[in-house]
Subunit: 180 residues, 2 copies
């Protein structure tokens, strides 16, 4: 029996972090869970970071994915919004890395090309394709659909390679640490 | 005997994260440790995030600070640099929050005002004041000095209030978590 490869997909956002979890068995993909982590806009930054980190940690403990796929984000015209988005994405990546999960990154263009077939797809087309590919009975909320889409992208771009993927992904490679 | 309040100060940066640890006993401040966490520019983002998270986690386990003070960062004219800085800062905050440490934030202006006495101080003046206030025998590297400076800022702005500080700081306040 083939052990399914469970993938956690994350679409980071400054207010809403979408997630989707799928199982891959050969060329087949099965829905496991999806949803979104919403931070309260009035909350202090540390509190919002905490919500992201604790909920992603909870998902990993509950569903035990083996790999993570994270969507790359666009820089925004508003520098403060870009900084906030960066902080939320950094917290999401930290939550994955701290649990030892290998992380793979995909651009929005790669996600659309993998799931819809071309890079100019609208959000609704991504949702529609996710519903079809996973045989869902309802349409996930857009951020949850994006979480599922990036997980599917990882599966599709490595089709048949599941066993050959570097099991360590992009884990910590070193860096320098000095005390003075 | 008064229990010292141990503060971990963090100055986040996209390539170098400075840190400084001090003990506060009444109105006196004692140097404990300082240094910097450097990520390798050629590394994948997840690897760089991992270096930050794992080293801050290691500092907390080794030195057991009770509170954390983190410098707020400026948005940069370059959006990609701002996004990277945000991601590094988000990872640093995540590393503190995941260990249950209360986090307090201070702007660069607040740090300069607290440590030097005015907001237009140069980096060298901050280093010089940190050396004097902590009775150091050498001058810390600039990022390490900034880590010590933000820890000192937290101590000075709450002078005599150590026992009255909200021990929970800015911990997680809630947020919403939905599965669909």
């Amino acid at each position: 029996m083939v052990q399914p490869l469970r993938i956690l997909g994350i679409d980071p956002g400054s207010r809403i972090t979408g997630f989707g979890i799928i199982d891959v068995v050969g060329g087949n993909h099965y829905y496991v869970a999806s949803g979104c982590i919403k931070t309260l806009p009035g909350d202090e930054l540390a509190g919002r970071i905490g919500v992201i980190v604790e909920n992603i940690g909870g998902l990993i403990r509950q569903y035990r994915p083996r790999q993570a796929a994270v969507e790359q984000v666009f820089v925004n015209a508003n520098p403060a919004a870009t900084l906030m988005l960066g902080q939320a994405r950094g917290a999401a990546l930290a939550a994955l890395v701290v649990q030892g999960l290998p992380v793979y990154e995909y651009t929005a263009l790669q996600v659309k090309q993998a799931v819809v077939g071309h890079g100019k797809a609208a959000k609704e087309q991504v949702q529609h394709m996710v519903v079809g590919m996973l045989g869902l009975s309802g349409t996930p909320q857009p951020d949850a659909a994006d979480g599922l889409a990036v997980a599917l992208t990882h599966a599709l771009r490595n089709r048949g390679l599941a066993g050959r993927l570097n099991p360590n992904g992009l884990t910590v490679k070193g860096g320098r640490f000095h005390e003075i």
